[in-house]
């Protein structure tokens, strides 16, 4: 589609290939990954209200979840 999208597909492709490469952490090397700060949303309740606020003031929406949530649109 756009140049940005092509880059993204490339990045994900390389990421997948790396899934089998030597740079991957072993089972016992995932302590840093297990930190709560590494979560997609470390504070999900705060993330929910922020997203709701942006969604009600901007045209764009859409995220990696399907949870719904009302208008609040004035």
């Amino acid at each position: 589609m756009t140049q940005g999208m092509r880059w993204g597909v490339l990045v994900m492709g390389v990421a997948l290939l790396c899934g089998c490469s030597g740079m991957q952490p072993k089972a016992w090397q995932r302590g840093d990954l297990a930190q709560p700060e590494m979560a997609w949303d470390p504070d999900p309740v705060d993330a929910a209200i922020r997203q709701h606020t942006y969604d009600s003031k901007e045209a764009a929406s859409g995220s990696a979840t399907v949870g719904g949530g009302g208008c609040g649109c004035n």
């Binding site: 999900p44 705060d46 209200i49 859409g62 949530g69």
Partner: protein, 411 residues
């Protein structure tokens, strides 16, 4: 003889000792650390969590130079109370319920007039709006080995707006738990019963309308080394029904007409999220980017950068910058000098071209099984933040600040 059921070791104490991180706020849904090869992410060690957050949303006044009256006008305020309870059901399932109660008040943009020089000026809704929203979302997750399935349902209720939604989500860990494929489908139905619809005061305002929305997404998350996780997801949404704003009007060659938008909308969002540990500074960087496009002609970019800084004594600081830019909907105009053949009219600032910048700072402090937080955000929108230069800025573009405080208790 079976082993002793209750070992003499104080497990709870031990668990507390290691969640020294100020940000150990459990989210019971799928998270990045699921990829850490841990069937139960660190955050889920506790069996029950209660979370309460109060947020005060305060929209800045609209300046007199942008209103038809020439007077400053106050805008919208929202007080939100969010409650979450999350609990484990056995070793493989958990349940999360989110309740939200909000009170909204203030004035809202109504329509836009051209002034003597053709500059668009805003007419605000006369009376102060008072509304109350309550919403409930429930989500159940169950693990079946490498696969997690989720069912979610919810509703949202305002005096003039009711929505009900349901959805299914799933995720699958493979490649030694280095890769997670996730996806979901959801459906929402909304009913609108606008205040004073079809009244003698607002005879053209609709009395009732409805719409529905079908959404689906698929995403792939990949561990890139011991300190990096990347996720990319594509979400598609189809909306159908009444998608206009029943309270808004548009100025068309000396008259005002109802806001009128197409009866359907197709939205595509492509979201990429990166989480990077910075071991040397005991910090984690979050970088999110979203590309958005819809068939109303709007293209938008959202980029967000957050820095999770762990500090001594279980404190943490989270500065965040978010940038947003959108192009306008094809049919949008601040005001119309002539009737349109397609019958579509909207002067809503949400459909106008603009950009926005927001800065936020969060502070977290963990005290045993309690977690306290404060957050301040300032958001400002305008042509200056847009990716493309904007000829005519919508006068109603918002500026707001949010004060927020949260408290979490785990059991």
């Amino acid at each position: 003889m079976p082993p002793k059921k209750n070992p003499s070791v104080p497990l709870n104490q031990a668990l507390l000792a290691l969640t020294a991180s100020a940000l150990a706020i459990p989210g019971m849904s799928a998270q990045a650390q699921d990829l850490a090869g841990d069937p139960m992410p660190s955050a889920q060690r506790d069996s029950t969590l209660l979370d309460y957050r109060f947020s005060y949303y305060d929209e800045g006044h609209i300046a007199g130079s942008k209103t038809s009256s020439g007077q400053d006008s106050e805008r919208y305020n929202v007080e939100s109370h969010q409650f979450r309870i999350a609990t484990r059901l056995g070793s493989k399932a958990d349940l999360t319920a989110d309740a939200t109660v909000e009170t909204m008040s203030g004035a809202s943009p109504w329509f836009i007039l051209p002034d003597a020089k053709g500059k668009p000026v805003q007419v605000m809704s006369g009376a102060s709006i008072h509304d109350f929203r309550q919403a409930l979302q429930v989500r159940a997750n169950e693990r079946f080995g490498a696969v997690t399935g989720s069912v979610l349902a919810g509703y949202s209720n305002e005096r003039d707006y009711r929505g009900a939604n349901g959805g299914l989500e799933g995720s699958w860990d493979f490649n030694n738990k280095l890769t997670t494929l996730s996806g979901g489908v959801g459906y929402t139905h909304n009913d609108l019963d606008p205040t004073e619809g079809a009244s003698t005061r607002f005879p053209t305002r609709i009395a009732h309308a409805d719409n529905y929305e079908v959404t689906g997404y698929a995403g792939l998350a990949q561990v890139l080394g011991g300190e990096t996780v990347l996720q990319s997801s594509v979400s598609f949404t189809y909306q159908n029904g009444y998608l206009s704003d029943p309270y808004k009007m548009a100025y068309v060659a000396g008259n005002t007409v109802n806001d009128a938008r197409p009866g359907n909308r197709r939205k595509l969002a492509w979201i990429t999220r990166l989480r990077q540990n910075v071991a040397a500074l005991d910090a984690v960087v979050h970088l999110d980017y979203r590309y958005y496009h819809d068939d109303w002609g709007i293209t938008a970019h959202t980029a967000e950068l957050a820095w999770y800084q762990t500090l001594p004594w279980s404190w943490a600081l989270v500065p965040r910058v978010r940038w947003y830019s959108q192009s306008q909907a094809d049919f949008y105009q601040p005001y119309y000098n002539a009737a349109q053949n397609n019958g579509l009219y909207s002067s809503d600032y949400r459909l106008s071209p603009f950009g926005a910048l927001s800065e936020s700072l969060g502070v977290y402090k963990r005290l045993g099984s309690w977690n306290l937080s404060l957050r301040y955000e300032h958001y400002s929108s305008g042509g200056a933040y847009s990716i493309r230069s904007i000829e005519v800025e919508n006068p109603a573009l918002v500026r707001f600040q949010v004060f927020s405080a949260g408290i979490v208790k785990t059991f």
